[in-house]
Amino acid sequence: MKQHDLIHMLEVVSALVTRDHKARYKSTVMGMVWSVATPVLFLMTFYVLFTFIIRMNIPNYASFVFTGIVAWAWLQTSLNEGVTSISNNASLVGHPGFPLPTLPMVSVVSNLINFLFSLPLVLIVVQVESGTLGWTLIFLPLIMIVQAIFQLGLVYFVSAANVTFRDVQFFLPSILQLGYFTTPIFYDLGQIPEPFHSILTWNPMYQIIHAYRTIFAGQVPDWQGPLAVLGVSGLLLILGYRYFRNAAESFMEEI
């Protein structure tokens, strides 16, 4: 029974992710292109801005900034889509036997696929600019798992909160925007005064992005950061999931 439930959940996630992706690529011919176009546009903007206009003096700046943009895009799209995953799916929430915890998962997995579409482009940029890609790429999936766990915990939390408080979906994008600028994505720790360094390193997304950059630079990441993030994310996932389960009791009354 338990095993059957788990298989059912995985099949539901896969069915809904497939559905979303097929729908996206059918409704716009350029579907796949669009999911990659946004990070590429950001890359070009930042590259021109911070290489020619305001000099950042960060080596291999295109690789540096692109890694940050693509990793952050996964977080941002997962959360922005995940926040309404319950409140916009009344018919599935009201379906007897439907496994509710799959809905937030779908947004994380669905955007993982977009992340994977962008990844080859990131690798090309890195290889062309610095030629540092190497065997350390085998660590890439580990960091992605850490990021996925971190995001899943957050999505469980915001999707349930948005059922109780309908404005979560409206201020979440602003918070993410703020996060974009306070996370060293297009700048480096070196650009900001020393006292703030320790604060910024507490940001899980900084640790994750930093690990990606280290891996792309052909080096083994310093595991201390990712492990700490894994611990925090695991805790966040447990708490977020519990909050979600408790709130799920009254989802149908509120949507």
Binding site: I7, H8, E11, V12, S14, A15, L16, T18, R19, D20, K22, A23, K26, S27, S91, L92, V93, G94, H95, P96, G97, F98, F165, R166, D167, V168, F171, E249, S250, F251, M252, E253
Partner: protein, 416 residues
């Protein structure tokens, strides 16, 4: 027999949507703690029943009586505030058949997705795709996007997928009212197969005839409280009787008798309704245009009624019934006839019905005229057997008596 699902003194309450609960973080912050503790209304209280394997259990009651709440509690998508629900197996539902469908995907792709959502394994739904296609009668369309389907086609697809499951406990909500008669019959047959296989079925419907035909036992809910559980026909009749009582009480309480110059009408005896919209004058003419209620067999008649409406006439139903002496409807038609278009006029409108040939046996036939709202829920003005016609020139059978021609063929005698 064992109970497949048991409901024990179940109650469910809802918070009032006033200041009781903040709906946004902003309201929450602005409200501080004063919003704690709100007022509640019980949507359902002290409901007890058990449905056996292989039983069809019906739930009837008006809108807002708690039927949908009960359905959600049974489906496990809401938790009861009191009592408990014990289900022996997974509960399936024929509720929102299009849940999870995406308009841009093809019928086949959607069938796979909704099948998985309904609890099937992906390989099973793929293996049964031929039956889905055959059952839904979508042979030529299965690889077209669902966006191009009609509402009926979508429901057929949803039904066909849902029919692939092997439910042990099945909730059905109104959906049987979809599709054409042949498709409905096919669905009912499949549901009957489930029942024979031991599935417990809970049917919630406004279609009392269907409830009576399908269900073994029926629960009647009123304002969230059980009015009794019993054999389907008993409960349906009790429910219908109460609805009628309420209607009459409503019209009696609400309306002071009006004298609108129709001395043959006495309120509460042969006239019922709220009189918000009413029939103010009626004329019956023979085929020569003379006002009379004597009609010769085989001739036509014309009925004119003047309807005074406070709302656009198009929002009303006008009906004409003719009875025999045994109280059976010989004729029953109204403005829901396909080709009748009522205008949007407010005020008095004359409506005329021409019947070309009245082929009825001799005798008198009472006539009832009525004005209803379009859902038949409110009686505005019903003149019950307030008119009659008398047919002459035909033996007095008081039945339909079509004009006829007999042919008697005498066998040819050989050698004559």
């Amino acid at each position: 027999m064992t109970a497949a699902i048991r409901i024990e003194s179940v109650g469910k309450r809802f918070a009032h949507r006033d200041v009781a609960r903040p709906r946004t973080v902003r309201q929450f912050v602005e409200g501080g703690w004063r919003h704690l503790g709100g007022r509640y209304t019980w949507a359902l209280r002290n409901v007890d029943f058990a449905v056996e394997e292989g039983e069809v259990f019906g739930v009837i009651g008006r809108n807002g009586a708690g039927k949908s709440t009960l359905l959600r509690l049974l489906g496990g998508v809401m938790r009861p505030d009191e009592g408990r629900i014990v289900a022996s197996d997974r509960v399936s539902g024929l509720l929102d058949l299009n849940a999870g469908m995406h308009p841009d995907l093809t019928g086949r792709e959607n069938a796979i997705a909704t099948g998985i959502i309904a609890g099937l394994r992906k390989r099973d739904i793929i293996a049964r795709m031929d039956d889905v296609i055959a059952f839904s009668e979508l042979e030529g369309f299965i690889d077209e996007p669902v966006r191009t389907y009609s509402a009926g086609m979508r429901l057929r697809l949803g039904f066909a997928v849902a029919m692939q499951t092997k439910p042990r406990i099945l909730l059905i909500d109104e959906v049987l009212a979809v599709g054409d008669i042949a498709f409905q019959r096919k669905c009912l047959e499949r549901i009957e197969e489930f029942r024979v296989a031991g599935c417990a079925i809970i049917l919630i419907s406004h279609d009392l005839a269907q409830v009576e035909a399908m269900c073994d036992r029926v629960l009647w809910l009123k304002d969230g409280v059980s009015q009794g559980i019993g054999p389907a026909s008993d409960m349906v009749h009790r429910y219908e009787a109460e609805i009628l009582q309420e209607q009459l009480a409503l019209s009696a309480a609400k309306i002071a008798p009006v004298d609108d110059g129709q001395p043959h009408l006495t309120f509460d005896q042969n006239r019922f309704g709220t009189l918000e919209n009413r029939i103010t004058r009626v004329r019956i003419l023979n085929s020569r245009g003379t006002e009379t209620n004597h009609i010769k067999y085989g001739q036509g008649m014309t009925l004119q009624m003047w309807v005074e409406s406070a709302v656009p006439l198009s929002e009303l139903h006008l009906s004409f019934c003719l009875f025999n002496d045994k109280d059976a409807h010989l004729v029953d038609f109204g403005t829901d006839d396909a080709d009748v278009v009522l205008p949007d006029t407010i005020g008095t409108t004359m409506v005329q019905i021409d019947i070309d040939r009245l082929e009825l046996g001799g005798g008198t036939y009472p006539i009832t005229l009525g004005v209803y709202d379009r859902t038949w829920e409110t009686v505005f003005d019903s003149h019950e057997k307030a008119y009659e016609i008398e047919i002459s020139g035909e033996p007095s059978t008081r039945t339909y008596s079509p004009s006829r021609r007999w042919t008697i063929a005498v066998p040819q005698q050989a050698g004559e």
